[in-house]
Symmetry: C5
């Protein structure tokens, strides 16, 4: 049976790991999940490596960088660390980062976190169990958390949450 | 028989992997291709390592970063990850990135993606099967997707698509 | 028995390693600590690797970058090195950095250093001995050294030291 | 017999690998050279690793980044990749980069490329065969492609090509 | 017997390796030194790895980046390479960089280089032979080349060379 690791942070202002875990369960796939929580996004890469060494086939790494310039630097360092971990271990790491500055209110922030985490969890599931689905969607301008951009040449869409904010608000 | 890996993304707005695959087939070379699709450019490095471990001799990594500042940061992180993967595995990774901001319209974007991907696919083929052809072209100012710059001291050329936009439009 | 490594610097203007060590002792946990001091923050990553190779299960890396632009570059390089060390060794490194520019006076600086170091030391302890406590705190907007941000949607709090400056001043 | 690897690019507008090769031959040293050409500077690090694994004792990596901001990012990524390759393999990589913006005309560009490549080729030779010569030159303010800066405290020299442009023009 | 490696550059305008070597000798410690010289700071990381593989227990890496923006990029790349080398090998690398722009004249530059190199050489010696001395100095605001900043809360000191410029001028 395959294993999906999930790591989130206490720094984040939404419990992203719980959303990832319940979304993964809703896929009905035959896998188990292992969840860890670390203090901040810079702690994610080491936790990812530990989960791989405990048998994870893929790890979702979830975090919420703050608004300051320094937070952007930390996010950059964390992202590079996650990619290094993935390259070293030769297995996929799905980074799910939501920057506080991406939303205008706490309500919108929670919606954005939920949508992006759900869509990335479905991607994690597809990578392990239905890779051909991803290939069929190659070049379709998929976006996580916002409306898809669509393939080049398709009628333009307005930017917004996939199912409309109304759904959750 | 040699193997060429191809990885593209669902984030891209053109199915770059299909273009790479059909161009590689058109070379008539004796090799097989393996194709994967991942969500975004940051997922490319791990997929590249996995393809190498499954026997690929070279991997083409294709993606389309967006227009925002943050997209440039992601592209930088992805590029560094691709180079790390290539250094760790000691095998070539051909990065084919087209930034949305490089073209003024969807039509031009599709043309640019096609030209650049085709030319990089030919380069991938040459690296594996005709390395001496590349050495003969050393220092000739070759460009992928736009007109070649030419060697220093040669008459200047105007910047544009290699065969003219008319060819495809 | 588990081992927690502690590395600090002579460059820092507060003896951060002593604070970390006494806080760790105050947890009452069953572990030993090993302490090293290096000249500056760029020397931390190698010391971290050495402590891991001497058996440490987790290392706290403590430093105080200065105020100049160049100090920010050094902090960035040191942070990336600490993440590389953690990824290479597959074990957690708790970075505790306090920038001189974060506080307005030496008095405030000392308070900030004390609070942040204490909270990170408790995190180090939880990672090794009570990981479920961290998972229970996932997404709660925890901050080290300043008041917690709280979960999204909770009443806003004013930014300040956790227990008020008065406690220490 | 020692082996020196040479990798250059088709992107460059001067055949830098040929200059390196003929300069190395002119040293009269007892070594063989192996030359490869890759499309662009980001392809250099993987080629360097391959040459090391084929027995090279040192590799010269030659390239000409363009004038745009993005080219500077690519050069930075390529440089970091070359250093990673050198650190991973524990053998020297001599980076020879000439930015198009460093010269005011194609004629000057070709001169600069020639001088810098020649001087770096001599350095490569000294590293392998006469390391004591380099130690004797420690701290002398040597520059490749332009006039040497000289040791601190020596009479100032005017910036220009080492032997004057007239020599080649 | 322990071994300390020393690597400097021909690019530097002061023979930093000689200063490091004579300072190390003046400690009276029971160790041998091995010295190498490379062309520029980007060549330091590979030389460091080679010295480690030849038995060095610690390596001092000395260089003088120039004044231009590009020199800062090179210094950043070199620093990251030195940290990577230290992490990969699990042994300390003491980086001693003096930027030309740090001093206002060649005379001041030579003084600064001498002071910083001497103080880093003493640190190298302490790391290997008297680590407890460093721990006793933790958090004391030590600076190399300029006056120490002192611990937070201590009377402020004026910025300057440790023993005053007069000593050497």
């Amino acid at each position: 049976m395959k294993t999906i690791g999930i790591v989130d942070t206490t720094f984040a202002r939404v419990a992203m790991g719980s959303i990832a875990q319940s979304t993964l369960r809703s896929t009905g796939g035959n896998f188990r999940t292992v969840r860890r929580t670390v203090p901040g996004i810079k702690d994610l890469p080491a936790a990812v490596v530990q989960l791989f060494r405990q048998g994870a086939d893929l790890v979702m790494a979830l975090g919420m960088p703050g608004k300051a310039d320094y937070d952007r630097t930390c996010a950059h360092e964390a992202s590079q660390g996650l990619i290094s971990a993935a390259v070293q271990e030769g297995r996929p790491v799905i980074e799910v980062f939501v920057f506080e500055g991406e939303a205008r209110s706490d309500k919108e922030l929670k919606l954005l976190v939920r949508h992006r985490t759900e869509e990335h969890a479905w991607n994690a599931y597809r990578i392990l169990f239905h890779p051909a689905d991803l290939t069929r969607s190659a070049g379709t301008g998929a976006r996580q958390g916002f409306a898809d951009a669509g393939p080049a040449g398709s009628p333009s869409r307005k930017r917004g949450f996939r199912n409309g904010i109304a759904k959750y608000a």
